[in-house]
């Protein structure tokens, strides 16, 4: 996974893996995660230090897999955010605050199922903790 982390985003941003720091947030446009079913995708992002992704929309398989491995995703318009901005995310409320402008934007609420998985640290920890599914 550490090897994969060195290659994250390299086709679109060759310097990404060198510049990304632990806790950084990826801000993206439409259909983020388009492509493979591979769980390696969100895992590599997490291994590279990414703490969350905010995008206008997500590809379906990537969306589920991210929450499954404990990488939170928020969905909202992202045109108002600039690279380098400091953001505060409230995952429970579904809110993104940009420190540079002071602006707050609401994101689509994270479905309850995903919230439970995140709280338990991901799908596999959830199943281990409860001996099976415990989603209401």
């Amino acid at each position: 996974m550490n090897e994969l982390a060195k290659h994250v985003m390299e086709d679109i941003a060759p310097d990404f893996s060198r510049n990304v720091k632990k806790g950084d947030i990826i801000v993206a446009g439409r259909n983020f995660g388009c492509g493979s079913s591979r769980e390696q995708a969100p895992r590599a992002l997490k291994a590279a230090g990414v703490s969350a992704v905010i995008a206008k929309s997500y590809a379906r398989i990537f969306y589920r897999s991210s929450f499954n491995i404990g990488l939170p995703l928020l969905e909202c318009d992202t045109d108002w955010i600039n690279a380098g901005d400091e953001l505060t995310l409230d995952l429970d409320k579904g809110e993104v605050v940009d420190q540079r402008t002071g602006k707050t934007v609401k994101s689509a609420p994270i479905p309850k199922t995903m919230q439970t998985l995140l709280a338990d640290g991901g799908l596999i920890p959830h199943l281990k903790k409860h001996g099976g599914f415990a989603l209401e």
Binding site: R30, S37, R38, S57, I124, L135
Partner: protein, 417 residues
């Protein structure tokens, strides 16, 4: 109010009366993974203390993406997979059997009315058999195998109606690329897609597999075709059960519907580097190609090989063009041999590789050189997909268009040869 196929399958599998938008816990009939996704799934199963699948029809692992094994590193991965499968009595479809999305239907594990999950994006392929089948990440598939269940949000359904008949040398792949071009890569995200109409009713099973397979490239979750005589014949002629077929009610609610006319369809090509970046083949005649690839879970079936052979019979691909052919399964390979298709393609300059994914996913069997253009019957053309991202352009098309282009050396409308 009536129900769509997705609502019916998720209702019956969750013991609830659910509609689009509901979240349900459903029992999964079958789970699969391939050699690119199994390692992660196995790690997760080990963490869970997995002893055997709780899914109704068990599970299977297919070694197809790197098949036969191209390197020492992958050989280690294959060994891990084989050892684990043996220890837990999980059926393995090993090197040479074929691509997962052909081998699984042939093995009778995906049936009409089923709910199937797979650790591969193109698991939606089994929708051709009237199943609700979808690709998911390794953890989700591990969870389904371990508990026999998985949570699903019931998707909305789009209806895509296609009337009339296809003209000569235009078919299912062209329809699919036209639809994806119109709806775009995220136009059907999270939807179940039901196809209907004359052109669909008269479509052979190979074509239905093509359409269902590539539906994920517009974001679809399920792509369940209706169950009819074509479905029944395909199954019974292979000694497979016809399961419990499902049809949508006449008064069910479709979120959107779309209409296409088959006679108006022309050969379509997806240009680099997105599946929805489509163009008529006739507009791309200036594009020189260096490699042609016929195969994959999208178009590696008997009628695909036959369609290409019909164009190339007695002729030869243009000098300098590499023409790789990967039959989707050993069964298909044998049938093609018996029908003389293999020798026709070989004489035309084809290089056959083992039934499997071949060069589609860039691990081996035909990695393009810098600056190459490849015309391929696969379902993805993202930058670097075939193993080299330096100035490589991958163009997706039907078997007919791939064959015609291999013949001339440029992208060619197959109606012109």
């Amino acid at each position: 109010m009536g129900k769509t196929i997705a609502e019916k399958v998720l209702s019956s599998h969750s013991g609830s009366d659910c509609v689009a938008g509901d979240i349900v816990m459903a029992s999964v009939d079958f789970a699969m993974s391939q050699d690119g996704t199994s390692t992660m799934m196995i790690r997760e199963l080990q963490e869970l203390g997995f002893e055997g699948p709780k899914t109704k029809r068990g599970m299977a692992i297919v070694i197809d993406h790197n098949s036969p094994c191209p390197s020492v590193d992958v050989a280690k991965i294959h060994k891990t997979i084989r050892d684990y499968a043996r220890a837990k009595s999980i059926p393995i479809h090993d090197v040479g059997e074929g691509v997962c999305h052909q081998v699984v239907p042939e093995s009778g594990k995906a049936l009409p009315g089923d709910l199937v999950v797979g650790a591969d994006s193109h698991t939606c392929t089994y929708g051709a058999l009237n199943a609700c089948s979808t690709g998911l990440g390794s953890a989700d598939v591990a969870a389904a195998a371990f508990t026999g269940k998985l949570w699903f949000k019931v998707p909305e359904t789009f209806l895509i109606n296609v009337e009339g008949g296809f003209v000569r040398r235009v078919g299912a792949k062209d329809l699919a690329l036209r639809v994806i071009g119109s709806l775009t890569a995220d136009g059907a995200t999270y939807k179940s897609i039901e196809f209907s109409g004359e052109a669909i009713n008269s479509m052979a099973m190979d074509g239905r597999f093509t359409v269902a397979n590539i539906s994920v490239e517009m974001g679809a979750k399920f792509c369940p075709f209706a169950f009819d005589k074509t479905t029944a014949d395909w199954l019974t002629s292979r000694g497979i059960s016809t399961g419990i077929s499902v049809s949508s009610d006449f008064d069910c609610k479709y979120e959107k519907d779309f209409d296409f006319d088959a006679p108006d369809l022309v050969p379509i090509v997806s240009k680099p580097h997105a599946v929805d970046n489509v163009s008529d083949a006739t507009d791309l005649r200036d594009v020189q190609i260096h490699q042609a690839f016929l195969g994959t879970c999208t178009n590696g079936r008997l009628s695909d090989l036959h369609a290409a052979a019909e164009i190339l019979k007695g002729k030869h691909v243009k000098k300098g063009i590499r023409f790789i052919v990967a039959p989707a399964s050993r069964t298909i390979y044998l049938e093609a041999m018996e029908k003389g298709i293999v020798s026709e393609l070989l004489k035309a300059g084809a290089s056959f590789v083992a039934p499997g994914c071949g060069p589609c996913v860039g691990t081996h069997a035909g990695i393009p050189s810098d600056g190459d253009n490849v015309i391929s019957t696969a379902n993805r053309n993202f930058k670097g997909r075939m193993g080299n991202n330096k100035d490589v352009g991958i163009y997706l098309a039907s078997p007919e268009t791939v064959a015609a282009s291999a013949l001339t050396g440029n992208i060619t409308d197959p109606r012109e040869v």
